[in-house]
């Protein structure tokens, strides 16, 4: 059993070492949500009136409303970044080293997922600290309560990245795929506007948003930040994580998935 933990420690440690060596990646991961928070929200707040909806008990500023969505955005981008580095690893050959380990492949992939999730969480907390510096302070216990939601959301979006990496054949194609995944997922969600606002414009779009698992990651985080549990969102995120992990393991099965097409 100690071997299993040793593998987990090594894979997660390697992810951290690589992350530390990529300072630009860390900077980009922070700048992106801060641009939304500071610039986009400033311009948008006048256009969007928010009513009091759970979990909020008072009127909130638009900046406060989009913080959970931006936390989820950090998880989403990092999941995609991790997926990109898997495709890179495959092209550079180091994926072979991982997959020829004597440990079960599902465990190796899960450890990789844990590593990318841990990095995502670190980035989210750094973002929340910066947001606090800009005056957006959330209930103090909420910073702790949100941790399981960030973990689960990170796993789900990391698993989505694993699935994509098992189906995208070449690094060059990946930018296109990321655009097709990131932008619809982000904009068709409750990250920037509540679903009732979307329903005013288009009930169909509202239904699509409600179906989007990313919406549920956002809502899970939003409620946990205010010390509440959104059970519907929790079940959606858990279910999506299980489904995506299963597809990823299938995608990396040597008898069926990625390596066969790749070779």
């Amino acid at each position: 059993m100690s071997g299993f933990w040793g593998v987990a420690r090594a894979i997660i440690g390697r992810e951290f070492l690589r992350f530390v060596h990529q300072r630009e990646r860390f900077l980009a991961a922070l700048v992106r949500p801060m641009v939304w928070l500071v610039i986009f929200a400033a311009g948008f707040r006048a256009a969007l009136g928010l009513s009091i909806i759970p979990p909020y008990q008072n009127y909130i500023t638009y900046e406060t409303y989009i913080v959970p969505g931006l936390c989820a955005m950090v998880l989403l981008f990092n999941g995609m970044q991790s997926s990109l580095s898997l495709v890179y690893d495959r092209e550079m050959g180091s994926m072979r080293l991982l997959l020829t380990s004597s440990f079960p492949r599902w465990w190796l992939l899960f450890c990789r997922l844990l590593g990318s999730t841990a990095i995502s969480i670190l980035q989210v907390y750094t973002f929340l600290a910066l947001a606090a510096l800009f005056g957006i302070v959330l209930p103090l216990p909420g910073y702790v309560a949100v941790l399981p939601g960030l973990f689960l959301g990170g796993l789900m979006l990391g698993a989505l990245g694993l699935v994509l990496s098992s189906f995208v054949k070449q690094l060059e194609n990946f930018a296109g795929v990321m655009n097709f995944v990131i932008f619809p997922m982000f904009f068709l969600s409750s990250a920037l506007y509540p679903l009732w606002k979307m329903a005013e414009s288009s009930p169909l779009l509202r239904d699509i948003c409600a179906f989007n698992p990313f919406t549920h990651v956002v809502e899970l985080i939003r409620f946990l930040l205010y010390l509440q549990i959104n059970w519907g969102a929790l079940i959606w995120v858990l279910g999506s994580t299980v489904v995506l992990c299963t597809i990823a393991v299938w995608g990396y099965d040597p008898a069926r998935g990625l390596m066969k097409r790749k070779s």
Partner: protein
């Protein structure tokens, strides 16, 4: 639950039986069977596109063939993949290194992937690097090493978990003459020490007369035996070309 050992599993080295593999309609390997005993340097010689890399992917379980049998150190790769992979050392054609990490960090990562006890890892790394005169490079980033040193590091790493079978897929590609010679000699020495070696290459000058030889062409084994016996009075290069050339 126990199962009856197949003839392939009786070989304590590497055994392959009736291996077939297709990419869609294209046949990559057609009924490939061979044995490599411990203490043997077996060269798998084949022109580009012969199926060597596919065979290596199957032997390392990056791919799984629908039928056929592979046994590593007596362990069936399909039924007991973990035990079989634990006995297999691999040097891939394409370097599998983290350029931004040091030699020691790369090797520590590999040791964990193979479940080596944490306390034993530093000693194992030092011993593996010593064997290839690389210990003084342990703290250097892989990016700063030349091609020959990178390859030696990969070889040292492949031996860290004491494999019974060592698989090398065109390991000298891109190296200068001195580095090629050094790696080829070292791996021949490993065979003399009892390791079972399968060395895939298309370069005839890496093969010695007393090596076992398998010629793979268009997915089939064209010839097998001791190199000196097979080539007769010809140079290996001429003999190999005569076996594999396509009539105009």
């Amino acid at each position: 639950m126990s199962h009856t050992r197949s003839p392939a599993e009786a070989n304590p080295g590497l055994a392959v039986r009736e291996l077939n593999f297709h990419y869609g309609a294209k046949t990559a390997l057609d009924s490939v069977s061979f044995d490599v005993e411990p203490g043997t340097f077996c060269a798998l010689l084949g022109p580009n596109g012969a199926g060597k890399s596919t065979l290596v992917s199957l032997l390392t379980r990056l791919l799984v063939a629908p039928d056929g049998e592979i046994s590593v150190a007596g362990y069936d790769l399909r039924r007991t993949p973990r035990k079989a992979l634990a006995k297999l050392g691999v040097v891939f054609q394409q370097p599998a290194l983290d350029m931004g990490l040091t030699v020691r960090q790369n090797m520590t990562y590999f040791a964990a992937l193979h479940g080596l006890p944490r306390s034993a890892v530093p000693t194992r790394i030092d011993a593996a690097l010593d064997r290839l005169n690389m210990r003084e490079r342990a703290g250097e980033r892989v990016r700063d090493l030349n091609g020959g040193h990178r390859r030696r590091m990969e070889l040292a790493r492949a031996l860290m978990h004491d494999p019974t079978v060592l698989l090398l897929d065109e390991p000298t590609v891109g190296l200068d003459a001195a580095a090629r010679q050094s790696i080829t000699d070292h791996v021949h020495d490993l065979a003399a020490q009892g390791l079972c070696i399968l060395w895939a290459t298309h370069l005839t000058d890496e093969v010695r007369d007393d090596d076992q030889l398998l010629v793979l062409h268009r997915g089939q084994i064209l010839a097998r035996g001791q190199t000196g016996d097979l080539r007769g009075d010809h140079t290996l290069s001429n003999w190999f070309l005569s076996q594999t050339e396509v009539p105009a």
